[in-house]
């Protein structure tokens, strides 16, 4: 059965592609093997299903008529310029890079889609073989269960509803118009318009609990012009420096701070004195406290207080 169906679909595609003009339904029934021995009703149903099947594969069938005098008689065609892969010329280096893309996705469905894209390029005569000895292997994974439904929702502009669990907070139902997804340090985030909060929000996919459900039909919202995911992603990056800390570090210690330091000077007892720019006071205090006795901050005073209070917290907890 599958073979007969594939055969019929292939012949339908070829017929609509080569004719150049619109083919009437009657003509299609005549020339496509598998249609003419059907009853009228069976043919109608079969033809509708086949068109739908081709549409799902991504093949667009145009309905129309060339002849103004007979505009009641509609015909079907596939435009060759829409159907065919456009001319694409890649030099060998570019082709090798494109071939490498096959190895990037660590997600079954997206890896398969990438492979089938590469296969089409190969069929068009582009040698997209990755360099067999390639020494670079970027990997992009997507292990969050909500990744696939949200990826699809973004692609089809389908509003979604999901349970969102921020640490230490009760679960909330969020209704979102997804604008895009972004991967940052190996984690996926969803950016979109939160309908209840009437504002742009970013969600961590790992916090989406349970199923992602549609909250409206596909294509039922528009992404505002000029939405720049890259700009939104900057929210995830470290903030610009707000101050400079003066810290004393023991010889052979505090390496992460040494790397970030603007200046290093010799202090007492072989210790070094560093000037280290930092973004947030508490983040910097955590960094400094983590080194224990090997690093002491001299200023500014509010940073010194923050470090002392963190260390006291650890000591007092032990006493409690």
């Amino acid at each position: 059965m599958t073979n007969r169906k594939s055969e019929r679909l292939m012949n339908l595609v070829i017929a609509l592609l080569v004719s150049g003009h619109y083919l009437s339904k009657d003509r299609i029934r005549q020339v496509v093997e598998g249609y003419h021995d059907q009853s009228d009703d069976a043919f109608e149903r079969m033809f509708e299903r086949d068109k739908e099947e081709l549409r799902e594969i991504g093949i667009r069938i145009e309905v129309g008529s060339h002849d103004k005098a007979f505009d009641d008689e509609l015909g079907y065609r596939i435009r060759r310029d829409e159907f065919e892969l456009p001319e694409l010329v890649l030099d060998p280096d570019e082709a090798a890079v494109v071939g490498l893309a096959a190895r990037v996705w660590q997600h079954a469905r997206l890896a398969a889609q990438t492979s089938s894209a590469l296969l089409k390029l190969k069929a068009a005569g582009i040698p997209v073989e990755p360099d067999a000895l390639s020494l670079v292997e970027p990997k992009l994974a997507a292990t969050e269960p909500s990744f696939e439904p949200l990826w699809d929702a973004v692609a089809t502009r389908t509003p979604v509803r999901f349970e969102y669990a921020r640490p230490g907070q009760p679960r909330q139902t969020r209704a979102v118009e997804p604008w895009g997804v972004l991967s940052w340090h190996g984690r996926w985030y969803l950016v979109g318009y939160d309908r209840d909060r009437t504002a742009t929000r970013m969600f961590r996919l790992s916090r989406v609990a349970g199923e992602v459900r549609p909250a409206g039909p596909p294509g039922s919202y528009t992404v505002p012009d000029g939405t720049d995911l890259r700009a939104l992603a900057i929210q995830l990056s470290p903030a610009p420096p707000e101050g400079t800390a003066t810290v004393r570090v023991r010889p052979g210690a505090g390496w992460a701070l040494r790397r970030r330091a603007n200046a290093v000077a010799a202090g007492n007892d072989g210790w070094d004195v560093l000037e280290v720019p930092y973004a947030g006071r508490w983040g910097m205090a955590e960094d400094i406290a983590s080194f224990g006795a090997a690093v002491v901050v001299d200023g500014p005073p509010e940073l010194r207080e923050a470090v002392v209070s963190l260390l006291r917290g650890v000591v007092e907890q032990g006493a409690a």
């Binding site: 970027p138 692609a155 929000r201 961590r204 052979g252 406290a289 209070s309 006291r312 907890q317 032990g318």
Partner: protein, 338 residues
Amino acid sequence: MTQSARDQVPRMLALVPYLRSREGVPVEQVAKDFGVTTAQLVKDLNVLWFCGLPGAVTGEMIDVDMDALEADGVVHIDNAEFLPRPFRLTVPEALSLIVALRTLRESATQTELPTIESALAKLESTAGDGAAASAAVQVHIERADPQVHDTIREALEKGRRLQLAYLVPARDEQTDRMVDPLRLLTAEGWQYLEAWCYRAEDVRLFRLDRIASAEVLTAAVDTHDQVARRDLSAGLFRPGPDHIEAVIDLDEGARWIAESYPIEGSEERSGGRLRIRMRIADPGWLRRLLLSLGGAARLIAPEAMAGEVQRAAQDALAGYEDAPIGPAAPYDRNNDPS
């Protein structure tokens, strides 16, 4: 019979132009390229045999040389001029390919960048709606120091040994190591060098942003064929038998730990605490984490380490003896994006 027409038709539409440009290609090669079994491919060819121009009768259909296929295992195809080019990329295909290439671009050295940029531009111009959809996906990978990155690239290309100064934050140490580079990889948003480390006498991953300096040596790399490359499909962090198990109670302000690091289990406790279990490769890492948390996390096990961390905090406080006495600040860290 799990093959549906929905898989078979797109494959055959690519198969025709593929075969037209590869006269007499071995059938195994075709099956491999298309990711199907040889048996399935032969089925595809048998279907193609019955496809052709509208109204065609036997003899006018696509001609597949079945004799050559059976006798020599090679594929010849004729009479298929009407399908000179493959069907264009669908939106999902273009999207996944473009995002994969952007990932490559994000982890490229300056030398490779122009090639990737031009390949991407060409693909985007042919991808239509797929290219438009790709605006909705961004991938960020931490850029490495270009000098370090280029040096590693050079060593890999020339097959030369590298001298690295490498920072290990867990132990707060920076060590000099001689390594034989094996490959550069990107995983979980960071770039790594996988290399044979002469100091560890084993394969190690070096995160590029932690390499303080890199120098290409004159010595050629040894062969490490017997050495297993890291399988990254299950993630970077693999708990090993020598890892210690830690049990930690997290206050509100430290709950982010449960989702930022791989944990083995968690349970809610009274007082809004979350008890987590995790495997720790390096006790130094845990010690430093606890010192930074201001008491918002309580180490339940290993017990001996809890005392050690307190003493370390006490020692550290000694450096602030002139500090004004005040209450410990309530700890609340909010590094969350939403």
